[in-house]
Symmetry: C2
Subunit: 327 residues, 2 copies
Amino acid sequence: MHILILGAAGMVGRKLTQRLVQNGVLRGQTITKLTLVDIIKPTAPENFTGKVKTKAIDITSRKAIDKLIAKQPEVIFHLAAIVSGEAEANFDKGYAINLQGTQHLFEAIRHEEAYCPRLVFTSSIAVFGAPFPQKIGDEFFTTPLTSYGTQKAIGELLLSDYSRKGIFDGVGIRLPTICVRPGLPNAAASGFFSNIIREPLVGKEAILPVSDDVMHWHASPRAAINFLLHAAEMETTSLGARRALTMPGLATTVAEQIEALREIAGEAAVKLIKREPNETITKIVSGWPRQFNAKRATSLGFKAETSFKEIIEAHIEDELKHILKMS
Amino acid sequence: MHILILGAAGMVGRKLTQRLVQNGVLRGQTITKLTLVDIIKPTAPENFTGKVKTKAIDITSRKAIDKLIAKQPEVIFHLAAIVSGEAEANFDKGYAINLQGTQHLFEAIRHEEAYCPRLVFTSSIAVFGAPFPQKIGDEFFTTPLTSYGTQKAIGELLLSDYSRKGIFDGVGIRLPTICVRPGLPNAAASGFFSNIIREPLVGKEAILPVSDDVMHWHASPRAAINFLLHAAEMETTSLGARRALTMPGLATTVAEQIEALREIAGEAAVKLIKREPNETITKIVSGWPRQFNAKRATSLGFKAETSFKEIIEAHIEDELKHILKMS
């Protein structure tokens, strides 16, 4: 089993690589080769007995993509993307990477003979734009309010059409906001959802820029990796020509996040959350989806956390174990 | 007022040109120039006092599009497309014209300075694919079952994103099946909806390949031209970033079509309809949308026929008047 990951240097790509190495198998077959590419050269995983190829490539180059596809990897994870803020600020770059890059991949596969890989495409809840119902169902229309969301929605349509034509066997998964995101606090408007948990857990302050009643749609990095693996392994005949799936997640208010933190880490941790209301962030967040009814994905076997406590516990297990062991 | 029509040689393009010449004004301004392009050179309209330029161009050439846009037409009608059957049979050609051609147009406009034209884009109910509810609402998701429908759905997403960015002021209209389509019977799977009316009206036989209870979504060519003109003239601020609109139409069964024909042309005309059930066509048609709740477009002032009799009468007035005068 040869697996190709596009976007392997990002947080999700690294965690996916780690899990694949740890599992050793995918779709019932031993993983013998990993090809890991990104705009910067990804780090090769430790403890992997198969072949690894790591490479910095620019997916706006059709030639670079053709070379990767000529090796006919059986499973492809397409995680590579310019994120929302950058795609909004740089129109050309966003379309070049998120749309044209995706088209290059799809076309390279189409031109490869006797080849039909499983292709897992990460989409986003950014394909939806306000106004929408409190709970967005599986048949609600996509009306993105960003170029990033537009590019993802187009990727989903292409994924379905190329799959319908038998060019590849695609599964598109719309990821919830990943929480708790490991690493340093970042400037993304959604950063605080993770910051207010991750920072207090290690004794640091975090800023909360919105009110406690703000609700959002979350899944842990661990759940996201489970989604990717399930999308690679699931039976796809029941998908028909509808290849994009809203992933399950957990609709949680900031107040509920804080309550779960209190249960796990006590009042001292909660006191490290500093309320600094920010109108700009409040406005941005108010345009985001809050809750989904992800019936279809759930019935197809995708599973997310069912309590925010579980999300925090996953974070502690996956990110803080080594620290806890030391203390 | 300078107007550009891409796809001016087609049935809708020719009728639109004719109406624009007849009206003489658009958006309250005198039409001083018409640029009419298509893959074959369109015929110049008669009785037009302004300037006319007709040209055969291939929209897969970005250069050709750039030249047209350099003249900064104030209103653009983008009707050019490879139709459903051909786009399905020829994957490359369909994507080249329906997707890349549209992208060329949008990009040419983006690179033109101090320019923001009204852009009317014709989409199609082919953006929807079964299964769907009996009546499809304005917020139902697009799940095309053809490459043509996929390309149109992508065009709609790009139209909304470019409009949101202020690159142009776009309106996308999803046309119902045009009935009664003038001209010769054609081989399209939907052809019979028009054939069973048009042919008997002039004393010719027509074949009905489906059962009488088949329901479909219709509008006359005249209504389609009205949609295009209204899309060019309407206020767009209320559209926000949702630029694609399902046009109103008339959900009619074949039995109701025949009943209307009987009322207008009598039993003799109805007898010219020959029932020759065709499984292939029956299967194709069963996957098509039958009925919509086009609330949004209706509230924005788009109007279609309310009875099939009206549709037949429009056909007689627009296409058969000269014949009737002769008899």
